[in-house]
Structures are given as C-alpha cells and as structure tokens.
Symmetry: C2
C-alpha cells in the first residue's frame, strides 16, 4: 500500500507532531478521510486493535455476556434521564431523514448506550433471580466534537467503545461490581504496560446521571493527562427513570442498582504514546502484529545459506505459534530495520553468513535495541516467553518512571500554575465546588479528582489541609487534559 | 433473564409465526426495541453470531486484511457515482445535525461502504505493486426500510455486514477474484450446512454501479428465496468515478478494476430457518453455543452418584475443549430437554442411576433425537468429532432434499404462477428486459437470474427456448423473495 517512505518521524519530545506522524507513518490510521474527526483503520492498525481488544474481551467474558444493542436511539428515550441528556445534548448526532422522508421521531446516533439498553433491562428483569445482569458490547459510538479532533483520542466516531452495563439488587452489590471493574481495568492496562492513576472524579465532572465516577488517567509525554477508562456507580437513578425493578423473595418490588464502565480506543492511543520512541512504535510482545521479524543480512555468494537458515528459523518460530515474518524483500537491511522499528516488531532476529557458520542468530528487542547472539538450539519457546515477559517488565517500569517524573506535589497555590501543563500537580483539596473552581482558575488545568487508590510511590499523606480554604482536604490531581 | 417459559413454538409449517417466535423464545434477538426494524442481540444469539462470524473471519483472513472505515459518509462522496446513489437514495439515513447545529454537509449512515472506501483507495494505490488490494470489514450498516421489517432478514440497522472490497489491475484479474469469492462463500455456507443456488442476477437487478452481480440464494421453508450473499464485479466503473489509477511498469496510468462482496446476518436467519424444527433450533456442532448439554436424571437416594458421574463427564468433555454445560438446575428433566432442544444444543447426554451402574451415558443428537448408550471410556474426542461430522452431513443432506422439493422446472408459462410462492420455478428465459418483465408479471415473482453454476441435481439443460419469446434462453430461477 503506497505511503511516503521518505518521511521520518519528528522527535518524540515534539509530542503532538510525533503523534500525528506516527499514526499515519506506522499505518495505524489514515487521517485523510474527508470528514473532520473520522479516520480509517489501516490493516496494520486494525491488527493492533484486534489483539488489544482480544485481551479486553477475554477479561470481560469472565464476568459478562456480550450483546449488541442498536446504534439508533429514539429522542424520546435519550431524553428521559434529565442529567444524562443535559450531559450529551450538545454533542449528539441526529438522524432526521430516511431517504427524503423526515422521520416522525428523530433518532440519535448512540453517544453511549444507557438509554438504548435500560428500557430493555426493564423487560429483562423481573425477579431477584434475574440479578445480577452483566453485559457488555464493543461498538461504534458518535460524538459531535467541536474541539480539536485527533485520531484515537478525540473522535466523532469512536469505533471501538467497550461498554459494560450491570444491574444489581442493592447499592452495595453494585459497589462491589465497581471494585471488580476497577480490577479488570487494572489487569488490562497492566497487560499493556501502561501506568495509570485511579481517581474519583469530582462531583461536577462525574458521568451525567451517575452517583459517582472512578476514572483511569494516564500521563502523556507532554504532561497532559488522558482519561483511558471510567467506572460509574449509577445508584438507582436510571432504574427509577426507566422503571427497572425486581421482585424480592418476600414479594416486594425494589428499584435495581446499576453500574456501567467503558474503555475506548484511547487505550490504543495510550499504547502508542506511552511506549513509542523517536524511531516508532514499541509494543508489548503479545499485541505486536509482527512479534518477531527475521532479517537476512546478505553478502554476495552467501545468499542461499543465509536464506535457508532464515527459513528454518521462520518455521521453528511459526511452529511455536508466533506471528513471525521473514522480510526477504530486496531492500537493504537498514531500510528493513527502519520499517520494523517504526512498526514496533517486538523481537528482531538478524542472520548473516557469520551466523550461518555458527548456527546462531543475533537477537534484539525493540525497547532495548541491545543485540546479543544465541545458538539456534537455544531459541526455545520458553526462552522467548521469558524474554517477552522481561521486555514487558522493562516497559512497565520505564513508563512508570516517566510518569512519576511528571507528577509533583504542591502545597503553595502560587506554584501550581507553573507546573500544570508540564505535568500533574498533586494538591490537597476539599470537595467544595468553590475551591475546585478557584484552583482550576489559578492552575489553568482541571481537577481530575481525589485518588481512589493512592499509589505506594506517592509519599504524601492522603489527608491534608485544602490548598485553597485550609479545611479538611484529600490528595487531588490537577492537570491539563486530553 | 426473564422470559415467558409457558409459551411453546408454533409448528414450523406456519413459518412466519414460527420464525417470529423462535427468534424471541430461543433468545436470539429481543424484538421489543422501541424502533421499527431495530432489534437487540441477546447474549445467546450473540454467541451464535460470534461463532458464525468467527468462521467467516477465518475464511476472509486467508486472502484479505481486515480494516475499518467510518460509518458516516459525506453527501458529496455518496453522490459521486450516479447509478450507485440512485440505487440507495431512498433508503439512506441522513444525519443533519450535530447537537443543535445543522451540519454544513449532510452525512449518510453507510448503507454499504464503496463511497467511504474508494476515495481512500485512490490515495492508497499508486503503482501496479500496490495491487491487488484486498480488504474487508464487519460493520453495522443502515437502510431506511419501508417494507415489512423482520429480525436478521430485513433490518434498519444491519449489525453484522461483512463487506470485502478488492482492487486489481485488469478486468480478468478482478473476475478471478469474483470466482474466488464465490468459492469462499460456498465454503462458508457448506460449513453451515445451508444449501444455496449460485445465480447471476439479471441486468435490472444487479448492484447499482456493478458490471454484474452473482448472488447466493437459499430457499426458505415457505418457498420464498432469500439472498444470503452477493459478489459484484465492478469493472472500472467506480475506479473512473473515484480516480483509482495505477502506474504500470511501462509508466502508463490505467484505471483499476474492482470487486466487492458481502454477507450479512441473513446467514444467521438462514441457519435458523433452514435447519430448525417444531422444537426449536438445530445448529451444527461447531456453531452451537452449547455444543453438549449434560442432563442428570435424578432418583431419590441416587442423586449423589448421578451428579458425580455428570461432573466427571463434564470435566472430561471440557478437557477436550468443548462448550459443555451441566444443567443441574432444579427443574425436571423434561423441562431441560425442552429448553435445550429450543436452543439447539447439538449433543445431549443423559445420566441416571442405570448409567451410573453401567459407567455409561445416553447420547443423542439434536437433529435425529435417537438415543443410544455408550460407555464413558468410549466417549472420546475422536468419536465426538466423527458424530459431529455425521450430524453436519445429515443436516446438509436433509436441507438439500427440502430445497430440491421446492424447485420445479416449467416449460408452460401458464403453470408458473401456480408454483411461485410455494417454491422456485425454473424456466428458460432470454436476457431481455421485456421477457423478464413479462414473466414477472405472469408469475407474480421475481426473476432471480440465470444459474451461474447449475447444480448436478437439476436435470434440465442449461440452454433452451425462452418461455416468453421462444428465442435463445438460459435456465433461470423465479421466486417470491425475502
């Protein structure tokens, strides 16, 4: 597929340009689709998506059933929950015509699926025996974004929204599910070696209609945070609106309690942004479309032996079940190194005449780029698994270190603004809207909220005096956000 | 999940009611979503979808890359190909507003993706080395259907449209891909044990903008045909409209030639309709969400031993990698038989005290319902695979027999109308629009077209005199269609 191979990536320290370029050059998404905020998944990008969402599906399938609800929601349903519609009305795409015929009832393109699902949950749930109900779907959702759009980050069509919705008997049971969901998301992001902060959003920034919202934020290379997952306790708010009740064993009817939680393709944006370097993508072994690339280093008169060994190794690794590619194209090795570094092949194997003589290969991993030699016999599945796990470990550690450097505690309000934009400011803050407003104005960033779980490596007390009013406060994070 | 268990299925000979009921009762789709033509995939139905589309993906992945293009197509692109837009303009859903703001350019919800993809193909393809390009996606598409809607068959949101699009250098190379695509679809429907007719649509019924269209039709229990797949040769028609050219080795630029081919969730509608019986679903072993159900037959005082053997067998079959379920709920065996027949569990194992004494189990398959006894040791993976293959063979054969009974040749025009509606009429017909119109009016059905491949079991010559004008004709099929 044609692309400009002459271009090279800008350095990652110019993050915004780097991101813009890597998305196109590594063939994640084609950004040239003729509508703002809509992008095309290239085959290569789509493979990453499939691998990442395969893991997400595996995690969800343990505790949920997959379903599919319609993409079109009648205006009458979307508008039923007052807070909810207020939160979405400015960004809903409306379908008003079928062919040339105006529709009787306008249809919204789902921005999220509460109002598509919950009228049906009312029909599905009758008795306590029908609970808990836990479903999820992976679907396209739509937002009319008026802000600057960006592939995978701010989209008009979110192509890969994983949304889970659960129904329970009591507030406490729903809360238990919230905790489980936080655990699932941790597992998912740990798998991707992406560090995160688990933060309870302030009242003014929770999901429209929720009792409370817990978010996963990661810190991008430019110091802005990106929300990469949210978990909402909905209380019985939607249940009251949509009439979702259940009959208890004693015959009484009660409103159910609900949760919902979602992850979008921002998980892929984080994967690219958190791990990539000046040369291109760095992907954990499990989600690299090309896990291992074999590159023959050919010298005149030795081509045959080298290619034979390459093929032998290819067959061996294929036999282990890996996604392996033998790049025997006509290009020079340097051009191949360039391409596969750009595309984040996790492991590289080079074979030249010297290796043939020694029945060995030169191995390197994308994150370290340290080369070492190993005999062909020693290239076992066990060893590769171990290397892959070590690479993941290195990636997690490095990413966490970079995140830590971007997080600083402040107890002097006048210093916060100088940091926000470069990184995340930690401050003690009470929960009043006034103090929130005040610090947001002062800092030029958003209050992400207080830590739901304070990481071990933050050695500041969880409780402290509010940086604005001096009253009882909790550790909050403040940042510019994506 | 609550449902009315008291209902029973209408007999399948009342096909329309049977279909309506089985979709809801077997929990394929919930038909109660509050917009006409939109339905909800239940967890059970969605599992069938995943299994069926897993196979389709497996077949497509051999020769295509999976991609994803936006669901929203600007009016300016959708309208570029004259024939194409004429074919779709009455049934396109239009997005006209984002929030309260009217859009500058109206956006169509994709009815199919030619006009989303081909402007990008123009950018992707430069030289002959970029060809062939073969991609597919599985997406939701939208049609404003004004006719009677039906779950999985006639929908306003087609939730699972697999559409492949390929680009080639020459008409002949594209034609070769058409042949391959026909082969892929045969493999897919053979896998589902669904018989089909491969028919070239008449000129007036080809895909808007195509050079020609080859369709797969199956015959439903009521004698109407259902189109379950189409393969289109697009010639260089779209390439000319969208400027898709490539540079030949000699430096000249040529228009590319294209194909596209699609299958929707009608494949699931066919699966249900072709194989089901008065008791419910019959599904091939590979696509049955519950491949094997184990039902304990409990007698007082013998519960423990029976359940122990059930669990032992469960572990054994789980170990083989099967989707197996031990139904140890409190219901009577009869109620369990009813449920699992309704849901099409392919294989049933019953265990009672007698079986415990003999260390044996009673086995039956959903299509035959003949019970036989076999010792636990003989319940090997090899044997189950063999039984599953035999069941598929029986299902294919039975389905083909039923289809044959609904296909009759006519050489007397006055007799055709009496059959069309009950089944498919075969006639010799020339390719003129006049004779087509005439026979459609006479027969009260549609000309499906002439056989692209005449099956062996049709013992009528391919060529013959047109039943209308007496000129040179070919074997055509005429039917009422879904």
């Amino acid at each position: 597929m044609a692309q400009d191979k002459s271009e090279s990536l800008p350095p990652k320290e110019n993050f915004s340009e780097w991101y813009h370029e890597i998305i196109q050059q590594a063939q994640i998404m084609d950004i040239r689709y003729p509508v703002k905020g809509l992008y095309v998944w290239y085959p290569f990008g789509f493979k990453i998506r499939q691998l990442v969402y395969g893991k997400l599906r595996e995690i969800m399938d343990r505790d949920h059933d997959e379903v599919y609800f319609p993409a079109l929601i009648p205006e009458t349903e979307l508008g039923r929950e007052g807070e909810h519609i207020k939160g979405f009305e400015d960004e809903v795409y409306w379908v008003t015509h079928g062919g040339l015929t105006p529709l009787d009832v306008k249809l919204a393109l789902r921005p999220t699926s509460e109002t598509a699902m919950y009228p049906m949950f009312k029909l599905w749930i009758r008795s306590h025996a029908d609970l808990p109900l836990k479903v999820y779907q992976i679907v396209n959702t739509f937002r009319y974004e008026t802000k600057h759009t960006r592939p995978l980050i701010r989209l008009r069509e979110i192509t890969s929204f994983k949304e889970a919705h659960t129904v329970h008997r009591t507030f406490e049971e729903a809360e238990e599910q919230v905790r489980k969901a936080v655990g699932y998301y941790k597992e998912f992001y740990d798998f991707l070696a992406i560090p995160y902060l688990v933060i309870r959003r302030p009242e003014w920034d929770k999901f429209p209609g929720a009792a409370y919202t817990i978010a996963f934020d990661t810190v991008m290379p430019d110091g802005r945070t990106m929300q990469i997952g949210t978990v909402h306790h909905l209380g019985d708010n939607f249940a009251r609106t949509f009439g979702i009740t259940y009959e208890k064993p004693d015959g009484e009817h009660e409103f159910a309690h609900q949760t919902c939680y979602g992850i979008s393709e921002r998980c892929i944006a984080a994967l690219i942004s958190i791990h990539g370097d000046d040369l291109g993508l760095i992907l954990p072994f499990e989600v690299s479309p090309t896990q291992i690339v074999i590159i023959p280093v050919l010298y005149k008169g030795k081509e045959k032996e080298v290619l034979e060994l390459c093929e032998k190794i290819f067959d061996r690794l294929k036999g282990f079940g890996y996604r392996v590619l033998l790049d025997d194209s006509d290009e020079r090795p340097g051009a191949k190194y360039y391409r596969w570094e750009l595309k984040g092949a996790a492991m590289r194997i080079e074979v030249g005449p010297k290796e043939v003589a020694e029945n060995a290969v030169v191995v390197s991993f994308r994150d370290e780029r340290k080369k070492f030699k190993i005999s062909v016999e020693e290239l076992t599945k066990e060893r590769i698994e171990k290397w892959a796990a070590e690479m993941k470990e290195r990636m997690s550690k490095a990413a966490l270190e970079r995140m830590k450097e971007k997080i600083k505690y402040f107890d002097n309000i006048s210093e916060v603004a100088g940091w926000v934009g470069k990184g995340v400011a930690l401050v003690h803050l009470c929960s009043s809207t006034e103090c929130g407003d005040s610090i947001e104005t002062e800092a030029g960033g958003s209050v992400l909220g207080r830590f739901e779980e304070k990481p071990d490596w933050i050695d500041v007390e969880y409780e402290g005096s509010c940086i604005v009013c001096g009253g009882k406060g909790y550790l909050n994070a403040i940042a510019k956000t994506y």
